[in-house]
Symmetry: C2
Subunit: 103 residues, 2 copies
């Protein structure tokens, strides 16, 4: 969970997820082609995404294919965001009332 949040914090890594979402199973070189940095930098980002289980890889000869794994993101939506979202309206109305009371 912690690793997922940390992984999602970086815009480059979110872009990598976007790229994989657009075309799944891309090789490292293919992903690098769309990124404005060295291959090694992209490798590090992908390692962090893999660590967070957001990306799954599949060795294919000398190539490595990368697949988006939506499960951890789904878990955030269900477990963590849901907690706040559940009380969203309550919290908003509480805040509104409180602010109005202060005027």
């Amino acid at each position: 969970m912690d690793a997922v949040f940390r992984a999602l914090a970086d815009p480059t890594r979110r872009q990598l997820l976007d790229n994989l979402h657009a075309r799944n199973g891309q090789t490292l070189n293919a992903l690098c082609a769309e990124m404005d940095m060295t291959r090694q930098a992209v490798t590090k980002h992908l390692a962090i995404l893999e660590e967070a289980n957001l990306v799954t890889t599949l060795r294919k000869g000398r190539e490595k294919e990368h697949y988006l794994n939506p499960v951890p993101i789904n878990e955030i939506a269900e477990r963590w965001i849901g907690k706040f979202e559940r009380h969203r309206l309550d919290a908003l109305s509480d805040l509104k009332k409180r602010l109005e009371r202060e005027d």
Copy 2:
């Protein structure tokens, strides 16, 4: 959006959100009491949460009350996570098929 992800990346800040979720409208000192670090460190974290619009503050004399704002989290759920979640089952079955094909 970027600021929200960055803000959520830190466990201390998620704990602050948890604390506010448990009891909304806490003052800085109240929040500090539950955190194992200096007041100034907590202040910085709260500033980042405010910057990300995850926390709203209300000056009350010499005190400052902090309120959880669930809207940005809700936006993540709707805009960003939804995008991947929508194709969750597809992606999973794709991956499964692919892995089976490789065996």
